[in-house]
Symmetry: C2
Subunit: 358 residues, 2 copies
């Protein structure tokens, strides 16, 4: 087990070595560690190597000029200038909240960015300011629209964080596919099959092979198949893509740049970099803040007290599993699997840093 | 087949007889007919009887004072004063667009309303003003959260309409369940079973019985079961409920009032009436309008040209099926099934009106 402070400090040192400012390294480390704390390691320390390789390939700007390029009192388009995603995203969410302070809500669409870690991090930034936070991002194309075998969409997540009073905040953070990409990789490594309804082969037939993406297959959208509403998952994923990329001037759908250096830069561009979308809504733009939070408590309590089906777990509120994981991780430490720890040790060595192998 | 004009005129006369103003009757008729034109008859003329019965029971206010009760430059809470849903919703969307004109986006949460017909109608109001429109509503509780057998949520739809240039607009309008409630009723009438993954029995077991809701069963959320992401559908449905009801001060979740008079008024209230949520975002609050619309055309063309799986239909853009249905209905007329035509004939008679039986 690693302590939070050790991993945070290592991540800061690492990105400082790449040339990031102190402020940016703090943001990057905070988002990576949030993923580890919340039990989403697929978006945590494992991604440091990806960013390192992108940096070596000259595909990341560590001294970006993240700036507003278009705005109204309630909206902005931010150009991330090729930044590490966390840096562009953090600043964009700050701008959304500043605008919300003034006119009730703020909405920012961001281009020229890269993979930003967990969407929920930015949505949750709103909670401390008594705002509802919303985050979306497009992502590398792995997902086929309903009826199609073309990989046109990413797993395009949506995160929504809503403040409560005595209850923990409502925090939804989910990909618009039945499962996250990372679960396929885990099943593949374990040599396991996956449920039907996650992926299809290159002809569009349902497949239980978690490695089918390497054979021209694709992931399907939430809903799984047309009879079960995959076209609704397609709608959601499309909305995320359009709000993130058409609104901002980023690359959309199949043209989102790879978030790993071993995939080549695409020939065609439809904009700049990866796109994100951020929203902040002051709760007191709708209700007196105390009244809002009390009603959220009542909502949460009502749903938490729902009757479980026989043999099923307690009914959860969005954010419960991640919060429970975090409480444990803060006490017991964060586990990094040996293959990732070795990778970190190797790349740390290349930069004259250490990463402890436990 | 009925002509559009005949049904529109009848609907206007009908609601004028109930005491609605000329302006309100025009709005109500327009929304009912939009449902028929777009091939969603479950939200069209069939609902006139429901509203008539609610009116007879004194549960509808035909002379409502629909008004803003709280606002910021970019947000408002609207109290529908017990109005027919279309009247409260239409005014709310107008307010959202007025606010968007001033500060870039406008967001309205509405309480004290009733069933408002198709969500897509209000989202599409934004298109003519070069805005993206968003609509959500909560609805009568029929849906159980993941792991639960308690009916706490409605089919809670989300609609998003985004303008394009030469291409028809992108119009997504979908319930956050695998299928709409109306499809269960159709299967039941035909004596057919339904796919597993739509409904569960009172113990939470998957069921193929479309009438299972009458036996304590419930609908499930988009995703179907936990392994296939039903918790993501639950997140979506919960977000719709909270934005519609906690933001506005309407009844949330299990406390949404029945949209039919044969179900009694609930004992417990957590707010006023049914809740909706509306958003309008000027496209030029993010990009120059022409550039935005051209890029939407490019997005739409890219997805329309996606490769279909062998034997599958062409890949559709959200809004395509409804638009194609409308083109046909405008030419060939609107079909009303005999049982509904008879109902309309009967209730028309009670008010001294005629409805032609064909």
């Amino acid at each position: 087990m690693y302590t939070y402070d050790y991993l945070f400090g290592f991540t800061e040192s690492f990105f400082r070595k790449l040339g990031c400012s102190d402020n940016d390294t703090r943001i990057i480390a905070d988002v990576f560690l949030a993923a580890e704390l919340r039990g989403i390691p697929s978006h945590g320390m494992i991604r440091i190597k990806d960013y390192y390789e992108l940096w070596k390939a000259g595909r990341i700007n560590v001294k970006p000029n993240v700036r507003i390029v278009h705005e109204t009192p309630g909206t902005a388009v931010v150009d991330g200038d090729g930044a590490i995603g966390m840096v562009a995203a953090y600043r964009s969410m700050e701008i959304a909240m500043e605008k919300a302070e003034k006119v009730g809500t703020g909405w920012v669409s961001t281009r020229g960015s890269n993979h930003f870690g967990i969407a929920g991090y930015y949505a949750m930034m709103a909670l401390a300011r008594e705002m509802t936070g919303i985050t979306m991002t497009n992502a590398n194309p792995l997902v086929a629209p309903t009826f199609s075998i073309s990989r046109l969409l990413g797993t395009n997540p949506i995160a929504v964080a809503i403040p409560a009073n005595k209850q923990p905040a409502f925090v939804a953070d989910f990909a618009t596919t039945p499962i996250a990409r990372g679960k396929l990789a885990v099943a593949e490594k374990k040599g396991e099959k996956v449920h039907l309804g996650y992926v299809q082969d290159k002809e569009g037939n349902p497949s239980d092979n978690p490695a089918i993406l390497k054979e021209g297959g694709s992931m399907v959208t939430l809903g799984g198949d047309y009879a079960h509403g995959s076209h609704k998952g397609y709608c959601l994923s499309a909305i995320v893509d359009i709000f993130s990329a058409v609104f901002s001037g980023a690359n959309f759908g199949p043209f989102v740049p790879p978030s790993v250096a071993y995939l080549p830069v695409l020939d065609k561009k439809t904009g700049e970099g990866t796109g994100h979308f951020f929203g902040a809504m002051r709760i007191d733009a709708f209700q007196p803040a105390e009244k809002f939070k009390e009603k959220m408590d009542e909502w949460i309590t009502t749903f938490r007290n729902a009757k479980s089906a026989p043999g099923k777990p307690t009914v959860l509120i969005p954010g419960d599993p991640e919060r429970i994981f975090e409480e444990k991780a803060r006490k017991e430490g964060i586990s990094i699997i040996p293959a990732i720890a070795n990778d970190l040790n190797n790349i740390a060595g290349e930069l004259g840093l250490d990463f402890n192998i436990q």
